[in-house]
Symmetry: C2
Subunit: 439 residues, 2 copies
């Protein structure tokens, strides 16, 4: 199995200033290619540390992906270290990256200074993969007797030898640029490595914890063919992703085999299943509503704006999303959403009745087809009626108003997230049924 290591360079990681999210993105992409990531490591902006660490990683792996340390200032020293590591004798200017640098600076109303254009200079031992998202070039260093790309017979390999064919990719540290360069890296890896083809398919579920889900589908899982591998990938906001993989074989045939297994699984999952590709609840809600002419509004209390925030992370959400009211204070619940003070007194502020009136109030206020609401105790305390960690969710629409109760045992932040995701899931189920009924 092809093995890879991911290295992050930069003092800002080691002093805890920023969280490294690039490595996780890259690892997921490699994992989907069937490449095993053996190691992730973060090192500081120190010439000798970079060289000795990368030597070790190249000795032990087929692919090493490095992010960071490519900025134009003096403290970014990755390029120099890579030049030394690969036995480079001089740097060459890369015309395409030079043009990109000038274009990016021009779009910001700036002239390209020498310090900017120096970013297009690269060690003569590398190949440049142009980086269209930023000024630092992406570089590939090939070591040893690796396969040579078509039309690349004149490529001079690095004089450094790690005893086996391996490649080092150097990416910028800025997540927007690193993630932007990833498709080019993946394409290069596919072109240069004889990867066993891996076929993946994903089902998204929401509403059952990983362990309970595993127990529920165990008979199905136990009957899977030996060459199929099932992975459970849980996430607080998107639920549990179920991914089936097969190594090797003909892709369309393997896809059909996976589809056949998933066809057996779907009736077991029932309403837990919400998508047959890697996505999230708010995107699925958007797909349901786009082009339907139907609209959506939100009334939040304990979730404080998070549901609205998640819905508006979907590009194009303004087509169906009208808006929300966060009624944190009781008078706002009454005056803006029309919740009855008597209901609050009789049923409690965290109750099915208040959630229902909030959702109905939002729908009336905005004229939306659907609405969703939350009222709950996110903090470590509740009241005499409902304990801490309880939320009531209501969904209102053409088929009336439905409510559901959830209880979680986390801290404030995590409760808010789980409340918001649970509300989105209730909303998703309601909309899917409603649109199916009215087709």
């Amino acid at each position: 199995m092809t093995q890879a290591s991911i290295c992050t360079i930069g003092d800002e990681i080691l002093i805890g200033q920023i969280v490294d999210t690039n490595s996780s993105h890259i690892a997921r992409a490699l994992n989907e290619l069937g490449i095993r990531v053996t190691h992730m490591v973060s090192i500081g902006d120190d010439h000798q540390s970079i060289i000795s660490q990368l030597k070790e990683e190249l000795t032990n792996n087929d692919i090493v992906i490095v992010t960071g340390g490519l900025g134009p200032t003096k403290d970014d020293i990755t390029k120099k270290a890579l030049g030394e590591l690969s036995g480079s004798r001089w740097e060459l200017g890369n015309l395409e990256q030079n043009r990109i640098i000038r274009r990016i600076l021009h779009s910001r109303g700036l002239d390209a200074l020498d310090i900017n254009l120096s970013q297009a200079m690269v060690p003569d031992t590398c190949e440049v993969i142009p980086n269209r998202k930023g000024t630092a070039p992406v570089m590939a260093f090939r070591f040893g007797e690796g396969p040579v790309k078509p039309g690349e017979a004149d490529h001079v390999p690095s004089p450094t030898d790690f005893g086996h064919a391996c490649v080092l990719y150097s990416l910028p540290g800025v997540p927007f640029e690193a993630i932007g360069a990833l498709p080019d890296i993946i394409a290069d890896i596919r072109a240069h490595f004889a990867l066993t083809h891996i076929t993946h398919k994903t089902l998204m579920t929401y509403g059952m914890a990983e362990s309970a889900l595993a127990e529920m589908i165990a008979p199905w899982e136990d009957a899977l063919p030996a060459d199929m591998h099932l992975a459970y990938l849980p996430n607080q906001l998107t639920g549990v992703r179920l991914r089936l993989s097969i190594y090797g074989g003909d892709q369309s045939e393997q896809e059909q085999r996976i589809d056949a297994e998933f066809a057996r699984l779907k009736p077991i999952l029932g309403e837990l299943l919400y998508a047959e590709e890697d996505t999230n609840l708010q995107t699925v809600i958007g797909c349901l509503l786009k082009g339907s002419g139907q609209t959506l509004s939100v009334a939040e209390s304990c979730t404080g704006g998070m549901i609205s925030h998640l819905l508006t992370t979907v590009p194009g959400s303004s087509e169906y999303y009208l808006g929300s009211v966060t009624s944190y204070a009781i008078p706002v619940k009454e005056a803006v959403l029309g919740v009855s003070g008597a209901t609050i007194d009789e049923q409690g502020i965290v109750s099915a009745a208040v959630a229902a009136q909030m959702a109905e109030g939002a729908r009336k206020l905005t004229g939306s087809t659907f609405s969703v609401s939350t009222t709950g105790w996110a903090d470590a305390y509740g009241d005499e009626r409902e304990p801490a960690g309880t939320v009531w969710v209501a969904v209102s629409g053409p088929e009336g108003t439905r409510t559901a109760r959830f209880n979680y045992r986390n801290d404030r932040q995590r409760n808010i997230e789980r409340f918001a995701a649970s509300a989105l899931n209730e909303l998703r189920k309601y909309i899917a049924k409603s649109l199916a009924l009215n087709k």
Copy 2:
């Protein structure tokens, strides 16, 4: 300088399923103690990899902090590897962790099974630091000729020798538990290592990019005494943190010296300065409003609920925060917030006038003392009046309504975050002035 390494164990990191946030937290805590983190590494749940990696880290560092791999199931193998690494011959039951396990399961309405209680069994070469947040014990393994804690003369050190005194701490991987255990680890490090005392003080700024800020305060920075170190710690949501540190000396004397330097810096920072401790904008707004009897509301458009979400991350925010309207659609702006259709036609939807009417509308609707609003283009396109990345912010209150315009050049998600933070900063400045005026 004392050196440390942070190791994360778990296949879920290497396949990109979860982002490791523990290492960043731990690195920040160590950095504040004056300990240099040389290395962060993630390895899989593989016995030999764990042992060989930890040997290397212990050889090169004084402190190694390991997170993850302590769960009760078979795939969590860190404890067994640590037992072998430290030359343990058997496992002992820890009474205190045993009690904690039973108490935690009891609070969840569960009986403690053998598999649960087995978590209290630890290698005889370690000291247990009870973990009150979860079932897995925190363990400290001391190697070599390290100082012995008072009253610990009977402690048998590990037979393994890395040629120098070093310690390995093993923490659970669940962030809530790992971060929860950190104060105990810090206390243990302080007790066992002769750390040079380090005095830190932090100023929080918002409103100027790191590079421009550095240029502005360069004369002050250049005049700092040689033993003072200034760090710039930028964050998208909280602005640039300025931290002054001094190694050694008498703490209260060093604090006075830092205060004297900061006293010279404050007039240069002016309104950019928003706090003299490590905090964020929404918490500072909460501190201003708590106990003042004044209240707050929000009207959002392009930020989609994020300002409201950030405000309600502050525990106790219900004391002053009444609620918000996210008016994503124009009819909601008009009907709920009372924005004039004529103004939208004449000035554009992204304009000072619309922002002002939104803020005034939210204040009127909720009866709050203050309100803040946003209207902008977060996406890659604008209109004929304002380009992509532009936001208009308005703050309304007893001193009238003020507006401000910002332009950023990021993707949708990052623009939404910067818009929200800029709005919170405008709100913070307005409230601070208003409360000062009306004292």
